[in-house]
C-alpha cells in the first residue's frame, strides 16, 4: 500500500515539489514560533533568585552629578528615615533595579583556571537580601564582618561558580577583577541558585553580586529597594515620595512596585512573540486555504483514476483513505526534509543554549502535530467528495 502511494506521489513530482516546498516553509515558521514559545516557558519555570513581592523600587534621579559628589551618610539617613514609616519593613540599596532592561557586565579572572569570565554584576547593600527576598543556597549574605577586609565579599550564582572554580566548592575562594589600573580581589562568601535581574524571561547567565558599602567604596547606589507590609496600597507612593523629599529635596524619585514593573517587562518581552504569532497564524491560515484548494483541484483531475479504482472493487472508504494518506505522506516528506535542515541548529550549537534539545524536540513535536492536523483537515472534504463519486459517473467523466 505504502509503496503504491509513494509511486503515485513520485509520478506527480513536479507538482508535489511546489506543494512540499510550501508545507516545508510553513513547517519552519510554526517550528520557529513553537521553539520561541517553549524556550520562554522553560525560562519562566526556572528560579529567578529573588522574591520581590511587596518590594518597591525607588530610582533616585539626582541629575548630572558625579558619584563622588554624593555623600556617604545620605544612605544611612535615607534608611533610617524610611524605616520610621509604619508600612516599611526593610530598606536596601542597589546599583540598579530588578525587572528593568538594565545590564551591567564585567569580566573577572579565575584564580583556578586563569581564564577571563565575562559576567553580569549587581551591586547591592547589606540589607538588600532581605528587602528583595534573595534566597541563598550556601554561605551568607554581606554584613559588618566584611568591613575592613582586604578582599571584597561576593555572592555568586551557580553558573558563575562553576565557570570560575570548576569542580571545587566556591565558598571562601578568591578571584580578581581584570581592571588594568586597580586590581581588586574578591572572596566568595555566599552562593545563590541563580539570579536573573530582568525577570523570568531572561536567559540564565553568570552573575556576581557584590557589596555596596558607601563608607568604604567609591561607587554610589541610585536605587532604593523598599520592602513594605503585604497589602500596602499603591497610594502609599505619595507618602513615600513626601518622606524622601524631606531627606533630599533637590532629587526626584521614581517609585514603582516591583510587581508592576514585572508585569510591564513581561509584556514587553511577549509583545514581539505575540505580533509574530499573529502574522504566522495568518500565514498558516493562508497555507490551509491553498492546500484545500489544490487538493480539491487534484481530486477533480483524478476522477477517471478514482472511477477506475471504484470499478474494479475499491470501496468508498478506500478512496477516502487514499486521498488523506497521500496528503499525509506528502506532508511527512516535507517535514522530514525540514527536520533534517533544522536539526543542524542544535547540532552545530548556532543558537547556543536558546535552542537546547528539550526545546528542539518539543517544538518539532508541536509543529509536526500542527502541520499534520492542517493536512488532515484540508484533505477531509476533498477526500469525502472523491469517495462519493459513483463508479459509472466517474468513468464517464470528461
Amino acid at each position: 500500500m505504502l509503496r503504491h502511494l509513494l509511486k503515485l506521489t513520485w509520478k506527480r513530482k513536479s507538482r508535489n515539489l511546489m506543494l512540499s516546498l510550501e508545507i516545508l516553509i510553513a513547517f519552519a515558521i510554526v517550528f520557529g514560533i513553537a521553539a520561541f514559545g517553549l524556550r520562554y516557558w522553560q525560562l519562566y519555570r526556572e528560579p529567578i533568585g529573588f522574591d520581590g513581592r511587596d518590594t518597591w523600587a525607588v530610582r533616585m534621579k539626582m541629575g548630572e552629578i558625579q558619584d563622588k559628589e554624593i555623600p556617604a551618610e545620605i544612605y544611612d539617613t535615607l534608611r533610617r528615615s524610611l524605616l520610621e514609616l509604619p508600612e516599611v519593613r526593610e530598606v536596601g540599596f542597589a546599583a540598579y533595579s530588578p525587572y528593568t532592561m538594565s545590564t551591567w557586565t564585567t569580566t573577572f579572572k579565575s584564580s583556578q583556571t586563569g581564564a577571563d569570565v565575562p559576567t553580569h554584576i549587581f551591586e547591592s547593600g547589606d540589607s538588600t537580601a532581605s528587602a528583595l527576598g534573595i534566597q541563598l543556597v550556601g554561605g551568607r549574605w554581606f554584613g559588618h564582618e566584611d568591613d575592613g577586609q582586604a578582599a571584597q565579599p561576593a555572592v555568586l550564582n551557580k553558573r558563575m561558580a562553576a565557570s570560575l572554580f570548576p569542580g571545587r566548592s566556591p565558598l571562601g575562594q578568591q578571584f580578581t577583577s581584570t581592571d588594568k589600573d586597580s586590581l581588586r580581589t574578591f572572596r566568595v562568601v555566599g552562593l545563590v541558585e541563580d539570579f536573573r535581574n530582568q525577570g523570568p524571561l531572561m536567559a540564565p547567565a553568570p552573575f556576581v553580586l557584590t557589596r555596596f558599602e558607601p563608607h568604604t567604596g567609591k561607587s554610589r547606589a541610585r536605587v532604593i529597594l523598599v520592602k513594605v507590609a503585604p497589602g500596602t496600597p499603591r497610594g502609599f507612593e505619595v507618602a513615600l515620595n513626601r518622606r524622601l523629599k524631606l531627606v533630599r529635596n533637590d532629587w526626584s524619585y521614581e517609585i514603582a512596585p516591583l510587581q508592576a514593573m514585572r508585569t510591564s517587562l513581561l509584556k514587553e518581552h511577549l509583545i514581539p512573540l505575540i505580533v509574530v504569532s499573529v502574522i504566522a497564524a495568518f500565514m498558516v491560515a493562508m497555507v490551509a486555504f491553498g492546500l484545500f484548494g489544490v487538493l480539491w483541484q487534484n481530486t477533480t483531475r483524478r476522477i477517471p483514476e478514482i472511477g477506475l479504482r471504484r470499478a474494479i472493487g475499491a470501496s468508498a472508504a478506500d478512496i477516502y483513505r487514499q486521498i488523506v494518506a497521500e496528503q499525509l505522506l506528502l506532508s511527512s516528506t516535507a517535514m522530514i526534509v525540514g527536520l533534517i535542515l533544522l536539526v543542524q541548529l542544535p547540532l552545530t550549537g548556532a543558537m547556543g543554549e536558546a535552542l537546547n534539545w528539550g526545546v528542539f524536540i518539543g517544538a518539532a513535536a508541536l509543529s509536526m502535530g500542527a502541520i499534520y492536523l492542517l493536512s488532515l483537515l484540508c484533505s477531509l472534504y476533498p477526500g469525502w467528495r472523491a469517495s462519493r463519486l459513483s463508479p459509472t459517473e466517474a468513468l464517464h467523466y470528461e
Partner: protein, 413 residues
Amino acid sequence: MLRNYLLTAWKVFMRRKLFTAINLVCIVLTLVVLMVVTALLETAFWPSGVEGKSERFLQVYSMRSESADHRTVRTELLGFKTIDKYLKPMQGVERVSAFTTPASVSVYQGDRVSELQMRRVDADYWRILDFRLLAGRLPDADDDSVSRFVAVINATTARKLFGDAAAVGQKISISGQMFEVIGVVEDVIHMNAYADVWAPLYTFPSGTWRDELTGSFAAMLLAKQPSDLPRIQREVERVAKTFVTEDPHEYATTTFWADSKLDLVARELLGNKERADSGGTTLLAWIIIAMLLFMLLPALNLVNLNTGRILERSSEIGVRKAFGATSRQLAGQLVVENVLLCLAGGLIGLACTRVVLWWLETAQLIPYLKVGLNPSVFACGMLLAFVFGLLSGLIPAWKMSRLDPVHALKGAA
C-alpha cells in the same frame, strides 16, 4: 487585445467563484501585513503632520568621544552648551532647536500620581514642529522674558489629569515644581515630538544645564530647502572636528552627525557610529529583502493554486495553441490575469489595512499612534501587489505555455 484578456480573466474568475475567493483571501492577507508595515515605516521615517517638515530638517541625537588610543569610548546626548556654541552659529541654517529627550516625571494631585513623559524645549522647537493647538496657546517671548513656569500638555494627558474640565489655566505640580498649563496640543508619537508635557528650558531645577557639553539634549536643524541638507551634514561633520571636550586629554576626538530619521535609526541599528555614512540605504535594502522573503510563502501558495487552475483550462489553451498563439502570448495572458487579481486584492487589502491601522490606533499598543494612508503608501501597496502578482504568476505561466496542444485539446495534460 488587453480587452480580450480582461474579459477572459473576468469569465475565468466568475466560473470558479470559490477558488477566486480563496485566491483573493490569500492575496489580501499578504498585502495587508505588508501594507501595515509600509504605513508604519512611512510614519516613522517620512511622517506628515506635526513633523511634516521632516524632509527639511536634520537631527543630532548623540555624540561620541574617543580617546587617542581608541580604548575609551563615550556616547552621550548633547549638552546645551554644545548646541549653543557649535551648532547655532552655523551659516545657512534657518533654525536650530535645542530640546531634551523625554524624561519620566511624576505629577501629584492629592493622592493621585501620574507618570508622564516630559520634554524641556526652546522657542524654536515650536516653530520647527507644526503642533496642532487644541486649546490655549504655546509659550511666547513674553513668557521667556519673565521666566514664567508654563507647560503645554497633550490631549490625553489633559483628560487624564483634569477629566472633562478645561486644562488651560490649571496648576500642576511636576516633581515639586509648580507649572501653569497654557496650552493643549494633540497627541503625537513622532521621534522629536513625542511627549506628554512640554516646558521651557529655563524651568530646569538647577542652572548648570547652560554650561554642560554633554547632557540630555538633542538638536534639530531646519534648512531653508531640502537640497541644503547634504551641505549642512558636511558642515556639522566639520564643526564636530573643531569640538573640544571638557577633558581633551581623556577624549581626543569627538564626532556627531546630523541625520535624517532613517539615518538615525540605521546608525543605531547597524552601529555605524564613527562613519559619515549611516547605512540608511543598507537598512532600506534589508527591509525590502525581508518583505520579499515574507512574500515567498504566500507566493508559493498562489503558484500551487494557479497551477491547478491552468490545468483545468487546458482545453482552452489547446485551442488557442492550435490556432497559432505563441507560448509567450499565453504566458503573458496568464501573468496579466494574475496581476489583475493581485491588484484587485491590493484594493481590498487597502481597505482592510485601514481597518487594521484604525484598530492599532485605538488599541493603544503604541501610544498616540496615528498612521495615515497617504498616496505614497497607496502607491507602495499597489507596487507590492504588482510584484506579488508577477512573482506568483510566472511559474504557472511558464508551465502553461509548455502544454502540448495535442494533449491539451483533449483536456488531459
